[in-house]
């Protein structure tokens, strides 16, 4: 859409929303949020940017095709399920954790990486779908 106002605002809303999405992702284990919502918020950020600036600009911004996030995220999630199998001979998807929490994020363990994988998959999926639709409109 040819609106300077939207365009300008979206440029500032994008980082804000992205930041917010990471925030939602990381706190998911303790408070409402998590990979899905985080991923959805992040996708919405890019969608907004695309509405305002046109699809090609947003794609340039992303540098890679959004579809790339899908296998990447899947690998991360699946990998965090594998970690206990490979590392400790435990059943698939068993949570393995570092001993001490780190500030801001809290405990670091395989479920966290799993959730991050979810986050990326959701971004990849939403953006692939919406971008594809827009392009073929």
């Amino acid at each position: 859409m040819k609106s300077i106002i939207l365009k300008t605002a979206s440029n500032y809303l994008l980082p804000l929303l992205l930041l917010f999405s990471v925030f939602v992702l990381l706190r998911g284990h303790y408070l409402p949020g998590g990979g899905f919502i985080g991923g959805l918020v992040a996708s919405i950020a890019f969608v907004l940017h695309a509405f305002a600036n046109g699809l090609s600009n947003t794609k340039n911004l992303l540098r890679v095709h959004p579809g790339f996030f899908i296998p990447a995220g899947l690998t991360l999630s699946l990998g965090s399920g594998f970690a206990p199998m490979v590392l400790k001979q435990l059943p698939f998807m068993t949570g393995v954790w570092f001993k001490d929490p780190i500030p801001v994020i809290g405990m670091i363990g395989s479920p966290l990486f799993f959730d991050i994988g979810v986050y990326f998959v959701v971004i990849g999926v939403s953006l692939t779908i919406i971008f594809t639709i827009s392009e073929s409109a």
Binding site: L74, T75, F82, P84, Q89, L90, P91, F92, M93
Partner: protein, 502 residues
């Protein structure tokens, strides 16, 4: 030692799919990778089966959360066998796809999704959690849906709309049933449900929920009057995909029905009558439908429905013999139906059409192929001693000994109509002279590799059929053991609740 190996076949397909995604634009690599990994997947599946055969039902508590708190994956003989069959079909379809599926489809994710479909099927067979089963079903739906539409041709879209809507409806009904089940039991673990359900006093409510389950699975299994999505869509995708659809998709529904109605719900008078009536009408309407179709793929589609009736009939009679028949029939049917769709793909490509009136001349032009396809065709009919014959012994026997003569009549009718239809197909495709000419860039012009990709999977599946036929004793013993396990739910329960890993 953990029991992680139960889900190796699942994880393996997932890894394959992801790997294939990374080779998105490279059809050659994808083809090779797919065949290689399908072969290795089969090895994994077989070794799983061997383990289960030797050690009995085994469970994996995912996440190391003791049942019923996490998701339990359970491999018993039934599911392990089905996993093996799935992987056999997958290998065949994979080889078949390697030349038959055009590279533009491959560049749009054909192979990753194909492997995810296989993963979904495997998962559905192995899960011991009712909601998890729903999730696996969704994998199956979405991947089959994508494979169905890939290419986006007119008939594909039309088929897909129906396929999608009715399968979504099935999922919604299934999920409704799960919700209600959770509402009365507070559990999702199938082994635990098998213990809780009998203790519930409100039997009527349990039965209503059972009906909803039956409807949901019935749509997937393609029983009367819920099968409409099947004939409307199976002709749409490439033959390799139809093969997986034809062989396995409905069988997952049948599997779910058998599992749920042996493990969780009682097959009491009402349920078994309901299922029996359904089975009879399925046999009838599938047969009638197949009789009037003029396109080979549609004939096969209706025959799928018709023959689902046999398995459902086996379930409905609620006896060990009948269950043996149902299970045996299922094994036979998976291989046969997959093979038939591969064959329909082969013959259509030889003839340039899948319409029966435009086909013909196979016997004179391709005698060896004719002999090859005679095996599955007549095995489908149940010409003894080919594979379709054996389960009928148990099914007919069970209906005779339990006095279900009407059901027997329907089974005889279905067998007869199948015989007639297949004989007619034989006449029209194989024996009759070809009307018009064979297409110019037809089968004969293919390279050796292309021909092999066509023929090898059919040979592979036909060999399996021959094994089922002449090694019927093995399959019979297998089916007996499966029916034992299905009827003695205690064993399943023990397997799920004993294994708490160190």
């Amino acid at each position: 030692m953990t029991t992680n190996f139960i889900i190796y076949p699942i994880l393996y397909q997932a890894i394959t799919a992801i790997l294939l995604m990374f080779f998105w634009r490279n059809p050659k690599t994808q083809r090779l990778l797919s065949i290689l990994s399908s072969s290795f997947g089969l090895v994994l599946a077989v070794s799983l089966f061997v383990f289960i055969w030797q050690n009995g039902t085994t469970a994996l508590q995912a996440g190391n959360w003791a049942a019923p708190f996490g998701i339990t994956m359970v491999a018993d003989t039934f599911s392990a066998s089905l996993v093996v069959l799935t992987h056999i079909v997958a290998l065949a379809a994979s080889i078949y796809s390697s030349e038959k599926v055009i590279s533009s489809r491959i560049k749009f994710g054909y192979f990753p999704i194909f492997h995810l479909l296989i993963m979904g099927l495997t998962g559905a067979f192995l899960t011991g959690d009712i909601f998890n089963l729903y999730v696996w079903f969704e994998i199956i739906i979405i991947s089959s849906f994508v494979l169905l539409t890939l290419g986006g041709r007119h008939h594909q879209i039309e088929g897909a709309v129906k396929y999608f809507t009715l399968n979504m409806l099935a999922s919604i009904i299934f999920l409704t049933a799960i919700a209600l089940l959770y509402g009365i039991t507070g559990s999702l673990n199938m082994a635990e449900l098998s213990v809780i359900i009998p203790q519930i006093e409100n039997k009527g409510l349990v039965q209503l929920i059972a009906i909803i389950f039956f409807t949901g699975f019935g749509i997937k299994a393609g029983v009367f009057p819920l099968y409409f999505w099947l004939p409307a869509s199976y002709h749409a995708p490439p033959a390799a995909v139809s093969a997986v659809f034809g062989g396995l998709l409905t069988k997952v529904g049948v599997y779910a029905l058998i599992r749920v109605f042996t493990l969780i719900f009682d097959l009491d008078e009402f349920n078994s009558t309901l299922i029996m009536v359904t089975a009879a009408l399925t046999l009838l309407s599938g047969g009638l439908g197949a009789l009037v179709q003029k396109d080979i793929i549609k004939v096969f589609s209706y025959l799928i429905i018709c023959h689902i009736g046999f398995m459902i009939a086996g379930l409905s009679m609620n006896s060990q013999v009948a269950l043996i028949g149902a299970v045996f029939y299922m094994f036979h049917d998976i291989i046969i139906k997959s093979n038939l769709f591969l064959i329909s793909g082969l013959t259509s490509s030889i003839m340039g059409s899948s319409k029966l009136e435009k086909m013909g001349g196979l016997l004179n032009a391709y005698p060896k192929i004719s002999l090859l396809i005679a095996i599955p065709l007549f095995a489908l009919v149940g010409i003894p001693p080919l594979s379709g014959f054996w389960p009928k012994l148990s099914l007919f026997g069970a209906s005779l000994s339990s006095g279900n003569y009407t059901l027997l009549a329907f089974m005889i009718f279905a067998s007869f109509i199948t015989l007639f239809i297949i004989a007619r197909i034989w006449n029209q495709v194989v024996a009759k002279p070809k009307p018009g000419k064979f297409p110019e860039n037809g089968f004969n012009t293919y390279s050796f590799k292309q021909k092999a990709a066509f023929i090898v999977p059919i040979i592979l599946l036909s060999l399996v059929t021959l094994y089922i036929s002449f090694g019927a004793e093995h399959i019979q013993i297998l089916a007996e053991r499966i029916s034992n396990e299905l009827l003695n739910t205690e064993q399943y329960y023990q397997a799920v609740f004993k294994t708490i890993n160190p």
